[in-house]
Symmetry: none
Subunit: 209 residues, 4 copies
């Protein structure tokens, strides 16, 4: 997220327009997918002329990229905050799981776009690959893996493969939330139960003892 304080009025206005366009596009992308959303629709929704869009973005693809990029940045911020603010891994899981749920409950479109981007190979802009974001992706990965390793070192959790737990946890969390969004069941009141359920199963397993 760029720092709006250091910008001139002109630049601030430009940034704001960019964000308006991205917001309009994000909503449409999440509803109809990248390929089935036309630039005209974006222009109408953003209340600009088609040509104007091209003063802010070089292509339709760039709008998509910017949205993903933005979502990445905000996700990273959430993660790094949680990593830094929690004294233990257990606490981290509790806080982070909740934060992620809450963030995407408020930003459903972005979750859908993100998941769609991750899973829908070849959909989205033709030559946009997850690689494009791998740098940021890696940073995020590393942060989480590091936290897991610390948890193991501190004997908070059992000695399991941190790499696998990372895949397990992140591969679980986002699809789980996405599923709720698709089913229209990501409602505030129920969120707590889902969070508790996930944490309970991850922490304690399902077996009777």
């Amino acid at each position: 997220m760029e720092d709006t304080n250091t910008l001139t009025r002109k630049d601030r206005e430009k940034l704001q327009r960019k964000q308006e366009i991205m917001k309009a596009a994000a909503l449409l992308f999440s509803q109809k997918g990248f390929n089935h959303t036309t630039l005209e629709e974006i222009a109408v929704k953003a209340e600009f002329g088609i040509g104007t869009i091209y003063n802010y973005f070089q292509s339709k693809e760039e709008i998509f990229k910017s949205i993903i990029d933005n979502t990445f940045d905000r996700s990273y911020e959430i993660l790094s905050q949680c990593v830094n603010d929690t004294p233990s891994l257990v606490e981290f899981f509790k806080v982070y799981t909740r934060k992620v749920f809450e963030f995407y409950a408020d930003n459903k479109e972005e979750l859908i776009i993100l998941v769609s981007f991750y899973t829908a190979i070849g959909e989205g802009p033709s030559n946009l690959r997850r690689d494009a974001f791998s740098a940021k992706d890696c940073k995020l990965d590393e942060l989480l893996k590091q936290k897991i390793k610390e948890g193991i070192k501190n004997k908070e959790i059992r000695k399991i493969n941190p790499e696998y737990l990372y895949i397990f946890y992140h591969g679980l969390l986002f699809p789980y939330i996405a599923n709720l969004v698709y089913l229209g069941k990501l409602n505030k009141p129920e969120i707590n139960q889902h969070i508790n359920f996930i944490l309970d199963v991850i922490f304690n397993g399902i077996l009777v003892r």
Copy 2:
């Protein structure tokens, strides 16, 4: 899957050609996505003329549907077999998790298409929605939920929300495998470790005791 034994030679050949086309299309769809795959590419890959494709399928969309449908049917078969063949829920999780891993290790394209179909809202054929398969989906859901409920009744696992566990497990399994496919890490030798890891965490949780 149709029974090839009862068919005439002609029908068998026709079915085989259909499957050749579906296979070619599945590979391309999984690599480039539905929208970025042209009929000409499918025709070339399947070694047919463009027009020939239309002797077997009414539209590009129908090819896609047939692939999904086929994958659904085979997934259902795996699930129902596992449900019936296992005496306990724990045993079921063990066998089914392995079977799913193995099946999609051999059918990576289908997994990618399936996940993409589930997650990529608006991508794929414009007016094809998950609803189209909801009947089959429901049958599959019910089978699994029933097995979970039995496991709870038999006190194999703790008294947790079966609905949530269903979302948890299926929402975990497929993205987990898909992720490995994307990363090119779904290799036979490593599969066992992933299976064991997943079962271990689900059964026992991650906490030290």
Copy 3:
């Protein structure tokens, strides 16, 4: 019309098949037009395989031509018979008008195809022009014009431009009947009234005297 008596059994059968195909095609052409009728539809209606059609006709266009040609021949036969069998022009108009009405009441498809062929420039086979039949057309024209001239010479009718009367009469008769066909009003009982009306107006005009 070929003489079936002089043909071998084989040739007779071949001719019969040709006519079956032409009949099927004529019905479809009259209902859906040349361009919107597919060879498959013709094949199905004629109860032959698609390929078989090509043993009897070189192309779709040739089927169309044959139908027109056949209709021309039969029309010519009617005209020449009427010309020869009637002692006066007035009698000729009476008999011929009735014969034409009756013929096309029984062969509505052919009338529609014929009128459509005459009027719908560029519809029908792309490079088929009325010129293709101008030889036959001319013969027909000449016969009628000759009869008109005789009528004028014999002072049956006033001294008017025979060429114009020809355009007037033929340009009137066929569209008049075609119109009734389109409106679904070419029913046997009403035919007489239409015939009488046409003859009355042509003979006597509409003015009160």
Copy 4:
């Protein structure tokens, strides 16, 4: 026909472009028929890009419809003017016959398209039927039939079936002119003779008295 006076410059230009496209299309349709005219040909003739056509018309069919519609409107205007401006049926026939000849001498393409549309069942856009214009058609019919009835009431013409005379006259006039167009004989100098001939025959019949 829209009133160009009340339009903004932009709208006027847009209307003009529409008419340029319609004019180009009308020429091509009249030469090659609807089905054998490609959009590319229309675009080239109209000196636009293919895509541009679609800024003015939703489909090829809509261009066709617009042409027909326009011709209908102008024909109606001519008819209603003649109906209103003439004191008697005889006068009406004289004036209207001339006006129609003159109008279509200047708008040959439109006559061909119109006649082709009326007669060529199934040609033209597949799902466009004469019914689509029946409302306008009926209005036109009624106007003419009413005028005929008045003529009978006023004893200008003999007591004949007005419905039949309507079919007779309109079923005669348009094919007659069309025929001249097809033969390339609708030249200004000769027009008068044709008009006089038609009126003479309709008024007085052909019989010697």
